[in-house]
Subunit: 433 residues, 2 copies
């Protein structure tokens, strides 16, 4: 039985520094919970010159990754450099040498799930990754363990703090997307290049991870339908809320339907009385339905130095305990079958309710023409709102549909967009049902 | 290494039946996650005649508890009879014989924490109890593991579904307490004798459990200040919401202050924009602040057959895995020191904001008299609402205070209640801050 668990930390950036801080400040609590002593033996980074606002014993520091990989005393490698390479190579190499992994790397995990968990199984090591989704909120562990008795029916997630912050600003202050993005960048909630966030790619990677756990098979994020928030206007947010009682969120959805998994990321109108509608600013929330537990929700900050470090250190505690007891890697944390294939439902096959906004010329008969085409395509209208005539002759007509097949809706909209009275491409937003 | 993990189930009531159902319906999933075979070897109950709506092999059934306690093949005892005795004796006896425990028994655990966890430590067995708080919501595991890196700063809980249902009804339909209680009883959300729920005792037991985990020392529910919802009027709910933007909840609060733990259960006004204000009907929610993770919330149904059974079976899975790997009980699930004493802050020492309603005769100078007495007692007023003169000469004056010491407030109210212009005892409700 090992007397001490040795950690090798790769990446002393924001989260890495947070991990060092927690291990310093809460060490006695951590060791009590782990049931063993825990220490950082080595920290590897390319550059230690940038001030990290933390004092670290210089003997721990190295610029050479081999000093961690080749050290037989190191039990757990904590990968916090992010991105695909060299993180992938380092993790695979570490596992080959019998080291367990803690990582926060959502992009790597979601894209290389098969490789990483096959290798973990083969090398009898464990991979923990609580920080990869929703920061310090223990949703990975809850899916893996606390809700283990359940067949998961669906997961709805507000998984990206940047976009939730932007949409909250747009909703509450009535400002447009560009101004809200600038505000988010100024406050540090959005990066200079915000593409991964605002195009929904980050959320798609996270729902891929949650889905892969929930359904025991890899869901590749590349196969997930993904639509960002860049085309959202303050007008649609306003109409949807004031006229129909919906709040706009960038929602990641996965549902276990008959034989297929329905998984998608896109702007979604959420009824104002749904708990997800109250999740504001940079917060994340994951709404999980299980066959036994019913509906549950997990909420917290999805990003930030200390919340991510909280998840990393919690993983370290439980991995250390298992290493100490000689069972880490004996039972995989993730139950997963390499050969299990899941079919993902195509977006035109999904059925949901829609908010549609038409920009038309104000002329008699327009409404009847539009609703006629919708009807012919099996899209039935639940409610309709026509703004009073403005100074311009262009008026918006807004409709909420009953549940309809997306393929049918798309077909109807193509026909409607060709009408001479229609001035701009009709816009639609899916509604949570 | 054991080839199969044997369970002894005590109590085939509502939750017990749910556990049998899940173990039947989701067995392959459960065994995959446990990494071992799991089976119910014996079920003990006093009475199997009442129809349980489930078919059970009669050979499993027994009326004699000794058949479970004396069976050396049984690894895990699942106690679902509830109440203090004979549950306490059975659990202690089972632990002496080296059996691990899964229980949903909040009353037993909260009142006998010391005895149960000391005995578990002594006998090197594990006690799992996810179902004891918030049904299937994995908040116990999250406090023990997923948030393990954190020092817990505070927990705010809507922990009782019955009272939350009643208060939601009173708020949304403007009905009084008695009618809302009747409605809850009709719908099966309240028992014929609802005392444990409406007096806050159930919530006190649950916050005692959460606090005991969070602070690593037993918090006895008998020491928790506890005030129920029976004196709440629909008028106060209405004023608080419409005039001041607060929603009334029965909140269990625990805070780690300087040297003392502040722990209490009472009706609390929650700002409408706080996520807890949106937790409606029979749902529970636990809002946890940790030093690293920041603010998190866990939400779901706190009661019901399948949600409780979900928690019990999740516990069974992880205990079975640990038994199979020979480590169950080696590391206690709960980190707890018998000798650690925590001081609980007396209620008159707490500081918070208050909603106060005075019933006075409508006469000049009343407001100045009242606010004068409050001021002399260091209670300062943040806002005030005086209803326009009604037909009767009795008018309510409502005040929201700044933070004040409860002892000071109580003293001021005693003086105010003696004024000749005051017609009824002044009422106050604490505000979340």
């Amino acid at each position: 039985m090992k007397k001490i668990i040795n950690l090798g930390l790769i990446g002393l950036g924001t989260v890495g520094t947070g991990v060092v801080k927690i291990l310093r400040d809460n060490l006695s609590l951590i060791e009590k919970k782990a049931g063993t002593k825990v220490r950082i033996k080595k920290i590897c980074d390319k550059d230690f010159k940038s001030s990290r606002k933390i004092k670290v014993d210089k003997k721990l520091l190295t610029g050479d990754i081999a000093e961690i990989l080749n050290d037989p005393e190191i039990d757990i490698v904590i990968e916090l450099i992010g991105g695909e390479e060299p993180a992938r190579r380092i993790i695979l190499e570490a596992m080959k040498r019998g080291k367990h992994i803690v990582t926060a790397n959502k992009s790597l995990l979601s894209k290389h799930w098969d490789d990483i968990f096959s290798s973990a199984k083969q090398n009898k090591v464990a991979v923990y990754f609580e920080a990869s989704v929703a920061g310090g909120v223990p949703v990975i562990q809850s899916l893996n363990e606390g809700l283990a008795a359940n067949r998961i029916k669906s997961i709805l997630g507000i998984l990206n703090g940047t976009t939730n912050y932007i949409l909250t600003k747009m909703t509450k202050e009535g400002i447009n997307f560009k101004d809200a993005l600038k505000e988010a960048q100024k406050k540090g909630f959005a990066e200079a290049n915000p593409e991964l966030d605002i195009e929904g790619i980050d959320a798609a990677q996270k729902i891929a991870i949650l889905s892969s756990i929930a359904f025991g098979a890899w869901i590749n994020p590349g196969e997930i339908f993904c639509e960002g928030i860049t085309a959202i206007t303050k007008e649609d947010i306003k109409y949807a809320r004031e006229e129909f009682g919906y709040i706009l969120k960038l929602l990641a959805t996965v549902k276990n339907t008959d034989r297929e998994i329905e998984v998608r990321v896109h702007p979604t109108l959420v009824p104002v009385e749904h708990l997800l509608a109250s999740v504001e600013d940079e917060f994340n929330a994951i709404y999980i339905s299980g066959d036994a537990v019913g509906e549950t929700m997990f909420y917290g900050k999805g990003a930030g130095q200390m919340t991510a470090a909280s998840a990393v250190v919690s993983d370290i505690i439980y991995l250390s305990r298992n290493v100490y007891n000689g069972i880490a890697g004996k039972v995989p944390y993730v139950t997963y079958q390499r050969d299990k294939k899941v079919r993902i439902k195509q977006i035109d096959k999904i059925e949901t309710k829609y908010y549609i906004r038409f920009s038309t010329i104000d002329r008699p008969g327009v409404l009847s023409k539009i609703s006629g085409i919708l009807g012919e395509n099996n899209v039935s209208i639940a409610s309709c709102y026509q703004k009073e005539r403005a100074v311009s002759r262009e008026v918006p007509i807004i409709m909420i549909t009953h549940k309809a097949k997306e393929g049918d809706l798309q077909k109807a909209l193509r026909q409607i967009n060709q009408l001479s009275v229609v001035r701009a491409k009709s816009k639609f937003i899916r509604i949570l049902d």
